[in-house]
Amino acid sequence: MFELFNPQKTADSINDRGPNRWDWALLPLVLALLIVFAFGAMQMSHPFSVGEASEISLDPVYLPYYLLRTILRMFTALGFSLLFSLAFAAIAAKYAKAEKIMVPMLDVLQSVPILGFQAIAIAPFIALFPGNLLGVECAAIFAIFTSQAWNMAFSLYQSIRTVPPELSEATRIFRLSSWQRFWRLELPFAMPGLLWNMMMSMSGGWFFLVAAEAISVAGQDIKLPGIGSYIAVAIEAKNGGAIAWAIGAMLTGILLYDQLFFRPLLAWADKFRFEESQSETAQESWLLNWMRSSHWFRGLTDKLWILLSRPLGWFSVRYDGTSAKASVRQINPVWSKVWDVALTLACLWAAYRMITFIHSDVGWGETGHVVGLGLITLLRVMLLIALASLVWVPIAVWIGLRPQYSQQVQAVAQFLAAFPVNLMFPLVVFAVVSLNLSPNIWLSPLMVFGTQWYILFNVVAGASTIPNELRLASDNLGLKGWLKWKRVYLPAIFPSYITGAITASGGSWNASIVAEYVTWGKTTLIADGLGSYIKQMTEVGDFHRIALGIGVMCIFVMLLNRFFWRKLYLLAEDRSS
């Protein structure tokens, strides 16, 4: 009866004529990627015993292999970060009770520096795979994971919380189960933000790569084959040429996964943008265009989607609103009270433990000293963010007002944000030693070296969205010079500047561990501060003092976020609405 004319089907059958030229072009690319990744994965499992020296060659011939291992490691970590984020967001958004613990917990985890996780995790991971390098590999992947996962989880959770109410109502009217709702509504809605955060996470992963791959915790000295270890060895050997090679390899790596992975994903995810209008900054990807024009690939993805959409039928709700099962269960207020009390007790217990720990194991004098170091680092972070803002805000506004440059600058800034600060060590050591400068002052710029770019690209993005009418109006009124900045540009970019500065501040704290303790061959430069304290204690393997240092840093970061950045953020939000 329903033999309907379906224009889609007819179009498909016309095109259905076996492989076309896009198929032939894609085939070698896909095969090569598969072989390379299989090879890299096989190399991960290797006999190893603790104390064995691992050889890292500075010969550039090995670089492609190291690059492969590093990228494989980063993507594995990214995969786990994604799984973690999905689980975290789904649980935190669904269960209010879990949310109460999970969200503050993530806040804390976010402010723990990567070295902290590594110090705790390395021993269990090695014990997990005795006699095999896989344990160390896991520890490295875990360390990278800790530099990637938190912002992704936060982004996903935030998006799920802000799902448009009318879509949420529609899923309820059409009786989608929580499972279906997650895949059909929540995840797609969160997709653009999640992808953007995945890209940021990859940059974050590079930044701490040296620490993650060249593990030197508690007297252990293990170097996994990878770019990070290569850089570490080059620094020990004072080999400037090798540093240059490492930079080249890193650039290649970033370009490769950007073009082969993130661009196509971003272009594909364009359909998940919630604003229904077409935006002018649509992402383009040659690879996605290729894939979309290839029949084989299309056939494959169509099959895949059909396969993937089958689980959507799972967990259907079998009853409807006329069944008493659908009634909203009233949560007994007594239970939520009990829950609150339990949480409070747990917090009190933790506080008690902390006080006894400080009292008996490290002493109050040491704690005071560490807090003092924290204040020094705080001063450094704030001063440098201010300095970086003075430099970059005018430049960023200038660029943002010229759309022809802003896209390229964004890409470059993203690369620079990924740039491990260790690569700057030779230059800095050379300058400080030969000019006899004070490390306390001149090592500081390293802290914002990687993070200032967040200010740059957020402000560029903000400035590029200043409405054209506003600029025309200000020209028309004859606003010039400082007045124009004060009345038009600065207020317009304020919200995006704050977003950038928050990211930069958080990153700088983390970076202080690398930036306050600089080595080049046998030369070691140390600036007083919390970062160098943690780094030194990690090398000695004094777990009590590592814990103290990390704890103090967490508290500093959280207080700063809560009482300074958050206030500014709310102010910015209020003004711009």
């Binding site: 329903f2 109502e169 529609a170 009217i173 009786r175 059909r184 409807d320 609103g321 006329t322």
Partner: protein, 434 residues
């Protein structure tokens, strides 16, 4: 007779809990029935709880008390036989038209082949054949709402709820879609047994429904009901339809029975509520009313047509004009008062002064703010306490809106000033020596 009762509400009440823990009533003692074979329209001003009522019927929110039943069984959540069409379409932008329409079937685990066949059939019926592969963002508003309707119809619902389904569309598109919908209904081409329309458009309600139910505000309860026995399709220019529209206009603008106060000047808290309009619209309507062709007196539907504004936009303005004593609304007509005439003819500066005077004498909230400020030594108060006062009987968003209106009016009438950044209200500075 209860056999063909689709939706049955008895004594339904709903209140929301305010921030300070006190309950605020949104709906009170609502009895409502939707029988097989009828289209019912719910009319009411914003804040009358019509949207809440619709959501209770849809099973999206539970009623506090009273009976809510679908075909004799109580409703605890969204019911399979009830589908809804949304004002903002609520389409999933990342799903194609086809996938959007199949969504409800997919959720129920209907096999892919059957889903496709049913979606194709509905899309063809609603005039979207060939659009299955399109993304919603490629479609115009009218087409989007067609998808919204198709998505609801494909589940073969008994009851179709339409939440201001045509109000986001332009007039012509809305009319076309409305007529298409009625055609499907009158020719029995859809399995739907009853339709409930929530609307603020009087003409739409008169053209579509068999019964119009009017809700009053604060708290929402059913005020009156108008039966319409005219056959469809109805001609908007016919005398009967025009008369009906006028009648409904009259009923809608009728003030709730005025308690002739026995000289007690203490205002009731509900009087603090202000209509959702602004000074420039108030003045625009006044000017329009004063000029030819109306010359001070107008039929409401005609004024709406001339103003090119919807009823939802105009009603609050009429209310404001009435409250300020500039115009009188009676039986579907609006006329200027002598004061209104004076206002229209006055210079800008006098207008603002007159506005201020009327505010102080006729708008309790503004007068209350002014008095409170005068009692302060420095003539300054934060907005917080006023907001809290309003939140005692209004929802938080609504309280904020009302205070916003009071701020705008007060500023215009030079009754007080307001600083956005500090959220402080102050008495205006005495005019500097001119």
């Amino acid at each position: 007779m209860t056999k063909n009762l689709l939706i049955d509400l008895k004594g339904v009440a709903k209140s929301f809990r305010a921030a300070d823990g006190t309950a605020r009533s949104v709906l009170e003692k609502v009895d409502f029935e939707l029988k097989e074979g009828e289209i019912v329209a719910l009319l009411g001003k914003s804040g009358s709880g019509k949207s809440t009522l619709l959501r209770i019927i849809a099973g999206l929110i539970p009623a506090d008390t009273g009976k809510v039943a679908y075909r004799e069984s109580p409703i605890y959540g969204p019911v399979a036989g009830v589908a809804m069409v949304f004002q903002s379409f609520a389409l999933f932008p990342w799903l194609t038209v086809q996938q959007n329409v199949e969504l409800g079937l997919e959720a129920q685990g209907v096999p892919a082949d059957e889903r496709e066949a049913r979606a194709d059939a509905v899309l063809e019926m609603i005039g979207l054949a060939g659009f299955g592969g399109a993304l919603p963002r490629e479609l115009s508003g009218g087409m989007k709402q067609r998808v919204g309707i198709a998505r609801a119809l494909v589940t073969n619902p008994d009851v179709l709820l339409m939440d201001e389904a045509f109000s986001a569309l332009d007039v012509l598109t809305g009319e076309t879609l409305r007529n298409d919908m009625l055609e499907l209904w009158d020719e029995n081409r859809i399995p739907t047994k009853g339709i409930l329309i929530v609307s603020h458009n009087i003409e739409e309600a008169v053209m579509m429904s068999d019964r119009i139910i009017m809700l009053s505000s604060d708290p929402g309860c059913i005020r009156c009901e108008v039966k319409i026995d005219l056959p469809r399709p109805r001609n908007v220019d016919s005398a009967e339809v025009r008369a009906l529209i006028d009648e409904v206009y009259g009923l809608m603008t009728m003030r709730p029975v005025q308690e002739v106060a026995a000289g007690v000047p203490v205002p009731k808290r509900q009087d603090y509520r202000l209509p959702e309009t602004d000074v420039s619209r108030i003045e625009a309507v006044l000017d329009l009313l004063a000029d030819a062709p109306f010359n001070g007196r107008a039929d409401l539907p005609q004024l709406a047509e001339e103003a090119e504004l919807s009823d939802e936009e105009l009603f609050p303005t009429y209310e404001a004009l009435g409250q300020l004593g500039f115009a009188l609304v009676e039986k579907g007509d609006i006329s200027l008062t002598p004061l209104g005439k004076r206002y229209v003819e006055a210079e800008q500066i006098d207008r603002q002064e007159l506005f201020g005077q009327q505010l102080l004498t006729h708008v309790p909230l503004v007068a209350h703010i002014r008095r409170s400020l005068e009692q302060e030594a420095n003539g300054m108060l934060p907005e917080g306490p006023f907001l809290e006062l309003l939140e005692e009987f209004l929802e938080a968003d609504e309280a904020k809106r009302v205070l916003g209106v009071a701020v705008e009016w007060g500023r215009y009438g030079e009754v007080y000033e307001y600083d956005y950044h500090t959220g402080r209200l102050t008495l205006p500075e005495p005019a500097e020596s001119a």
